[in-house]
Amino acid sequence: MDVTQAGTHRRVNGTRGERPNWLGGLVSLLWLAVVIIPIYWIVITSFKAQSSYYATNPLAPPTEPTLANYRMVIESDFPLYFLNSLIVTIGAVVPAVAFSFMAAYAVVRGGTGRFLRGVNSLFLMGLAIPLQATIIPVYLIIIRLHLYDSLLGLILPSIAFAIPLSVLVLSNFIRDVPKELFESMRLDGASEWMTLWRLAFPLTRPAVVTVTIYNALQIWNGFLLPLILTQSPDKRTLPLALWSFQGQYSVNVPAVLASVVLTTLPILILYVVGRRQLISGLTVGFSK
């Protein structure tokens, strides 16, 4: 008798708890519109002819969609900037993630040693400091290394800026690998180097994917470093090129927006490919 009563009681309250959250729903819907409308506008406008842009309803899809804007962007120096961005991103992300993973592994596995504790604290400190603030000495160092106006000059600081957060996230995940697995690897005579790549690396793959995508996003979209550390047009990366393109063609809004779309496309593809792991990685990382 008691059991059935408790059962019905809970069910009644359960349904009451699921009453729709009108305020939350309304705000979410509204914000969804706020997020979508500009994106929608960017995409449809990029397919409009410059002449029809001024004449038509800005939120109506183009009556005669054209690829002329995209053609114009691609026939400019866009492919070169694209290549520069690709080189800088891959050239920085691969070493940044590899070095961070090695450091995170060392910090977790040998974290009681004074040296590694110090290294860890140093990286943690790096998180609290807005790295833009160090841009002037970075500029000086890059000049003195004769790397000013070169892609390598963009890559090196990008790696350094990516390290603190990467080490932190990766070490949080490596810490979750059961200790017994490390023990059994060692009893099998595996070296630390092998344990790192054969055990820790595959077991923390979601974290590695998350960190890789996050860093790739930061570096691909980076603006300040190219702005300060490069000068010649042929060393531009996409965000900087976008900015100067906008200054040059500000009247041709559809072409400017086509360049915005083209710049975002690669990162969108990367996101779609790694989305599942990125979201689960971020959720776990932030709710710890």
Binding site: G14, P38, L116, A128, P130, Q132, Y139, V169, Q246
Partner: protein, 308 residues
Amino acid sequence: MITQATSAQRRTPPAATGGARNGYLSWLAVPALLIFIGFGVIPLVGVLFLSFTSWDGLGEIHLSGLTSWQSVLSDPGLPHALWITFLVMAASWGFQTPLSILIGVFLAGQQRYRAVLAVVFFIPLLLSQAAIAIAYKALLDPNFGLGAGLHIDLLVQDWLGRPVLAFSVVIFVVSWQFIPFHSLIYQGGVRQIPRTMYEAAEMDGAGRVRKFFSITLPQLKYTIITSSTLMVVGSLTFFDLIFVLTAGGPGDATRVLALDMYKRGFQANLMGPASAIAVILVLVGLALALLLRRLGGRDPQASQMEGA
């Protein structure tokens, strides 16, 4: 190898073992350490050093004592930049937090739309701030933008030409980019609250609003600190967006510290005073991190995680 293993097994925290292994492990941290020292630690010390020099960005660097600091501290531009930085921080926090919590709570309860919303909500995060700023500049153009095209007079304003409007646009665009992300953080936080707490409150006849204020909000404490840390520390770094959108203008209405540093250093070629501003920027960042950590009352590692 075998002796090491047995000695490791005998100790309770198995991570600590012989010096040889630790020595080898230390080497693994060296590449990351070197590059971080070279382009992180040395520049941090260097910026303090440069604030006591005069340098035009090209020629010789001369020690000049406190000259840069004197010129920066006596310049009314500094309190103004600090004030604008603070306003951006406060306004972006105050606008984003309630909306993010509301959307996050809603998303946590809705299984059906979550996947779709998660996809859409991530898109603004994927765009570069330069791209966002460029798109919004076109969108808000008083003659050729969305408002003019739709013939809605309310939307036809000189958005970036008037100080208060330009400031509001910066806050709006920041929120456009980051509210979705913070909503997802809050969604994760809400989903970690044990259902039994709500069931107990329902037994006591608590309604939705009551449950929100006496369970959800207190339980979200650490999530709020996480999200607020990200917003506050992040607000110090809105360089790209403001630089492209308003370039600090109109006048100096949106000239935040980072922009002030850039303009003094790379446009006026006064690297000494610019470095002094950078030192102030570092101090503000550190002070905020410490303050938020104290508010959080968690161990440094955890709150640093959130600081990410």
